[in-house]
Amino acid sequence: GCNRGSDDKAGTSGKVGIDLPRSDSDFWNSYNSYIEKGVKAGEVSALPRTNSQNDIGKLVANVQTFTDQGAKAIVMAPQDTGAIASTLDKLAGKNIPVISVDTRPDKGKVYMVVRADNKAYGTNACDYLGKQLGGKGKVVEFEGALDSINGRDRSEAFASCMKTKFPAIKVIALATDWKGDVASAKLQTTLASDPDVNGIYMQAGGVFLQPTLALLEQKHLLKPPGAPGHITIISNDGIPDEFKAIKAGQIDATISQPADLYAKYALYYAKAALAGQTFKPGPTDHHSTIVSIPNGLEDQLPAPLVTKDNVDDPSLWANQLGKS
């Protein structure tokens, strides 16, 4: 990694600083590899990638080294949406456009937010479960970390949808801190106290899938859809293992959070920003909608519901992994 004097390959357009948020989840690792692919393919000219490991302090430090190295645009995925505010102000002061992936900063100017509507994950999951369960039953929800915006959006949307649309469904919300073993322990306890649980909503398949399957298998509760005693499970993330589980009849559905599109449009908007392009709210050419948010724009990428019916759809990112 010696980058002394390796300046100006991209001519006038300048370099992009890209910070990856973490490297310990399957979802984010897919995102990271899509970014690498994009950079290698010459989408943009980028500084060496940094990784803030879920730590906002590291993210801010990394951003500073980007600007010190002359970055002209920055791609980040701040997992803390509050504490990035003053960094965004500073970048705005230096006229460096920022593309925020996955999360929408609470304050501070952004050029574009590239994300799927996390509230919609919660609502879609609720709708799906409600329908499958016929409006009544008992559902366990693995909440993410309470201090994560995505977790909170999913929790709030799920709770309010359940309350208004399916009041007869009892929701048992479990705090998990995005930890699979914690989720497993709490699910085990809940299954003992409420053996009639017939639905599970897990907010991140990337962390909860395997522990949940292992537990249900041990308890002999993994029954195929349709069989009596089947527990309906819907997940979020849409990683390949979730697809496998859907095909095997172990879970019912997931919401594919488009790791590929996150990476693709992060780079796309970075390039556009360097070129001085501007965007307006409204539908886009890639089946999404740009909406206006107080501190900029947000491109709300589609996050399709995946069930047995469309699990083989080649356009889903998890089906492309390992190919090409």
Binding site: L146, D181, T189, Q210, L213, A214
Partner: protein
Amino acid sequence: MSETTELTPDLAVPGKARAAAPRFQLSRYRDLSLIPVIFVLGVIGFIVSPVFLTSDNLIGVLQQSSELSLLVLAEAMILICGRMDLSLESTIGVAPVIAMWLVLPSSGPATFHGIGLFPTWSSIPVCLAVGLVIGAVNGFLILKLRVNGFIATLGMLTMLRGLQDGVAQGKSIVAVPASFSYLGKTEWMGAPAAVWICLLLFVIGGLALGYLRHGRALYAIGGNTEAARAAGIRVDRITWIVLALGGLIAAFAGVLYAGHYGAISATQGDGWIFQVFAATVIGGVSLNGGRGTLFGALTGVVSLQLVVNVTTLGGVPPLWDKFLYGAIIIVALIISRFASGEKQD
């Protein structure tokens, strides 16, 4: 089990020592000081939910404690011996990953590819060996280079987690050999095999620490290293062995984890070391060495896991869950301090 073996001899104090008896017994009860806490938790659990006392639930609590309890077993031995090892929380993750890298074939349909250096059936021994090597490296840093053990193992903690990220490319490894995941998921006599194995290891460890010359040596080393050396105990050698053994046990916890949760998780063990210390110390093992029993440490794990169980059964609102957990730890600590009647320093 080690409870009774520890206690009976003490009750048989000869009449001669009447005056000293009360004090002496109190200080021995230190290892039992969590019993009232567990009792209180049990009562609360019973009030909160009728399910609490079902064998299903209680076995579940034990199963959930199993991997943590092994790290606690390892840490307790290391602490008694007057050292500490923070890196256990990473060993539990990295040892299985390296083992997979060494045994899995370099091509195939799975997402994770290794180098296939050893046959697949050897995955567990290889994993244990990796743990042993990690513990031995800790020992080398602490005993040969004489660097500060806290920071050295903290550095190892970070480095090993990073090694896991690097080798596994940050992914969880789902396709592990069946032989590897067998122990963590099978049941023997109506309870998970992991529970039996952990109990067995605690009993063996407890007996070794209570009745074997080399086991007792840990207490002497941790209590007064110079005195131990003067008494002819090979302090460095034994300490090194204990550290290596600690790594091995942590690696074994990783084996159980992989079976229990169906994959070698990328975050396996991440952040556990605080829990490990909490359980060990709350269970009566001294951070300064030379004091405590494995039985006490085990009650520590069980107490912590019971708190999680009771709050889950009680349906605590998620936003206040962590607050309550912390508050209960403090209350438990206070109860156990007054139950044992000893100041804790």
